[in-house]
Symmetry: C2
């Protein structure tokens, strides 16, 4: 018998690295993954649902949550506020669920302070040129925004050293397999508790 | 580009846990695994090459290596001497090969002192009753020897806390997959070096 507490998996990645695609495939592959849903003031993209991808809030509602101390951490990124609600994560972990938290680099540092056992995974593009190509292909952003995203990516990448694992998303299948391997291996670590053999 | 240095993987397991079967399958699955080449005084069999399967030495040469402190550990089996040379592991790791070293619990502690970056994996049976059943099934040992093997297994299992990972060999396919996941995940750890993205 091993420790049945869930794993908190924090995933960060510059925009355009394909983390959503990796996670979508990983959720199909690993049957115990669950999202912790973040709160944001940004506008929903096509297909994004409130309470599934994010809790979409106005700046006023977000400020109210902050005032009531309902968030572990929050940050402003590209002009929008993002936050992690307190209520759900500890409950999910105790229930044995593996919780995935998508969060930017400074938020990840804060989460590590609150949950020292969390696993920090950073997803990187194979190169900055490839990241630019993917952002252009997405077609949702202007040239100026893309340039700013690349600049932000460079800054974010300087935080990689604080993470536990780096996955380079060159081929999506490989990146998904790598993600699944990290989760499986972490559950086998002695530091997370010894199995009892009798 | 990631650090291309190989991984030193130290595997320990009580007799009867199936580590040889796991490793055989893992060698088919992972294309970069290599055994650390041992030194032996036994006669080469047909097709065996010096420096590939073993380093073949005379007893005098072996004694000279021992005298010069060139072996990590050695043992005598069926009238022949076998040993683990110090020189080959660092060379193999530098050449980017992942090196597997099967070694008992005290030997593993010594290896960790010499190679702090090595990954220590302990393979366990699902239960002591199952271990006994497997040892009996093997049919090569008497009841007394089996009892002694179980007693030794209990002592060995008290060393698990010094290891990095524990793999329980309940179903062989799962144990092989777990072994492969550990190797893959270890190569993605930030502590083993950051990729350079430009």
């Amino acid at each position: 018998m091993r420790n049945k507490k869930g794993l908190l998996i924090v995933v960060s990645a510059p925009a355009g690295c394909g983390k959503d695609t990796i996670l979508e495939a990983a959720f199909n592959l690993c049957d115990n993954l669950h999202y912790s849903v973040s709160v944001t003031t940004r506008t929903p993209r096509d297909g994004e649902q409130d309470g599934v991808h994010y809790f979409f809030k106005t700046r006023e509602e977000f400020a109210e949550m902050l005032k009531n101390n309902e968030l572990f951490e929050h940050t402003e990124y590209a002009g929008n506020l993002y936050g992690t609600p307190k209520s759900t994560i500890p409950e999910m972990l105790e229930a044995g669920k593996d919780v995935v938290l998508i969060i930017e680099v400074e938020g990840a540092e804060n989460i590590k302070k609150i949950f020292p056992d969390c696993v920090l995974i950073f997803v990187l593009p194979p190169s900055l040129a490839e990241l630019e190509r993917r952002l252009k292909k997405r077609g949702t952003e202007t040239g100026d925004t893309i340039k700013r995203r690349i600049d932000i990516a460079k800054i974010e990448m300087s935080f990689v050293k604080n993470y536990d694992y780096v996955i380079i998303n060159e081929r999506i299948e490989d990146a998904v397999a790598a993600f699944a391997a990290v989760i499986q291996a972490e559950k086998l670590t002695v530091k997370r508790g010894l199995p009892i053999i009798s």
